[in-house]
């Protein structure tokens, strides 16, 4: 026990100061993630076989394709809305096109986090594929999180629902700026919205581009509650995420 205490007090300062994962962390993540990937792909293959060959093959495929198209079109619509707003404000960024200039890398989600209070996922792309630390992770529906740790073949994504995550955001209608923080489950809180601001329930919240990690214009969610706090300076604003992080299967990594 004394030995364990000694090692513990030696490890803590060393690991707290590190900026990159240690060799042991990289090795463990790589080994476990390989098995996670194997299991995830096996499960997906079995699921696909069942869906495609046992059930109504054509209808299933059409349905999936159409849903994907709707998601793509929604995403495009979102981009156009943003462009319109930008023109209206006589912005000089006339050539801004939502997401179109960025390189997107498709990755599969292969595992969840080991601790239930932590909102992280493991994806099957790593530094070998060009994934970099702090890269933005999105889906067609909106913002997912950022790359917290990379190994050669796998990466860990800190989801925006994690309490350690904070995204500088704006209300798409009122252009009010705030900070969206995770609550550890499927709701976010938008902080620092002044009490006199007219943010409304149903307003779309998008990333503002400030902060250096998340690019501008990605959907975060919709306001589900905006109420004044008695004698408070800021409103209590709750945001429902656009992306159901617990149902993620594939994501895009932007570098």
């Amino acid at each position: 026990m004394v030995f364990i205490c000694l090692i513990f007090f030696l490890i803590i300062p060393f690991s707290a100061k590190r900026s990159n994962p240690t060799f042991i962390e990289t090795t463990v993540v790589s080994v476990v993630s390989s098995f996670q990937a194997l299991l995830a792909h096996s499960v997906k293959n079995i699921e696909n076989s069942l869906n495609h060959y046992i059930f109504l093959t054509q209808v299933q495929e059409n349905n999936r394709r159409l849903k994907e198209e709707i998601k793509i079109l929604k995403n495009k619509l979102q981009g156009f809305k943003e462009q319109k707003k930008a023109f209206e404000r006589l912005s000089r960024i006339l050539d801004y096109k939502f997401g179109s200039k960025r390189e997107m890398l498709l990755a599969s989600v292969i595992g969840a986090d080991i601790m239930s209070w932590s909102q992280m996922i493991t994806i099957d792309k790593g530094s070998k594929d060009g994934v970099k630390k702090n890269g933005t992770v999105v889906t067609y529906e909106g913002l997912v999180g950022h790359i917290a740790q990379t190994t050669p073949n796998y990466s860990k994504v800190l989801l925006i629902s994690d309490v350690r995550s904070a995204v500088d955001a704006i209300d798409q209608n009122t252009r009010t700026r705030g900070v969206v923080v995770g609550k550890g489950r499927d709701i976010f809180e938008m902080k620092y919205i002044p009490v006199d601001d007219d943010i409304q329930v149903g307003d779309q919240i998008i990333s503002s581009g400030f902060g250096g990690i998340f690019p501008k214009g990605f959907i975060i969610g919709k306001v589900s509650k905006a109420e004044e706090i008695e004698r408070g300076l800021f409103k209590n604003v709750i945001v429902i995420p656009a992306v159901k992080v617990s149902l993620l299967e594939e994501v895009f990594v932007l570098n």
Binding site: M1, I4, F8, L39, G111, M115, S116, S118, A148, R164
Partner: protein, 169 residues
């Protein structure tokens, strides 16, 4: 060497299980901590020294995967292994209710240690609040799942001699 490799492989499978299939059993944002159940199981079966060592290494792997910093889980699981290794003579671990009680206590000890370490090292009140909110729910869920997993670990060690060493290897 073969024994160690097979044990390592089995433990890796357990971590894969915890991060993939067990994710489907998430209720109210928590899921049972199978790694903690194993640390308690080894402590009760093999005593304080081996229990603490096994707990420490299981926790260290958990820390490597958690993306935070190394130490909290290694220390807490080491302490759990040590405590239940010390109590092994006083516990009738085969008993269903005793397994639930022991694992509930183990989860509370584990959660409390992690909570203290995070409170002292990470200046994020929200994270500490989340751990505190999940503490009792995780303890109950882990305790309820423990008889099943203890049975599985017992079965594996009996049939293959893995997890708990004997003369087979």
């Amino acid at each position: 060497m073969l024994y160690l490799s097979l044990n390592f492989f089995l433990i890796i499978l357990l971590f894969v299980f915890q991060t993939t299939l067990l994710h489907c059993c998430t209720i109210l944002g928590v899921r049972p901590d199978v790694i903690l159940i194993l640390a308690t199981f080894i402590g009760v079966r093999l005593g304080k020294a081996k229990g603490a060592t096994a707990g420490f290494f299981l926790g260290l792997i958990q820390d490597c995967l958690s993306g935070v910093f190394l130490g909290p889980n290694a220390f807490s699981k080491g302490v759990v292994g040590f405590i239940f290794g010390n109590l092994r003579a006083k516990i009738l671990f085969e008993n269903f209710f005793s397994q639930i009680f022991c694992n509930m206590a183990a989860a509370l000890i584990d959660g409390a240690i992690i909570l203290i370490i995070f409170s002292l090292t990470i200046l994020n009140k929200a994270l500490v609040d989340i751990i505190l909110n999940n503490l009792f729910l995780t303890a109950i869920y882990t305790a309820l799942a423990s008889p099943l997993f203890s049975k599985i670990f017992g079965f594996i060690s009996k049939k293959t001699s893995l997890l708990l060493p004997n003369k087979k290897f």
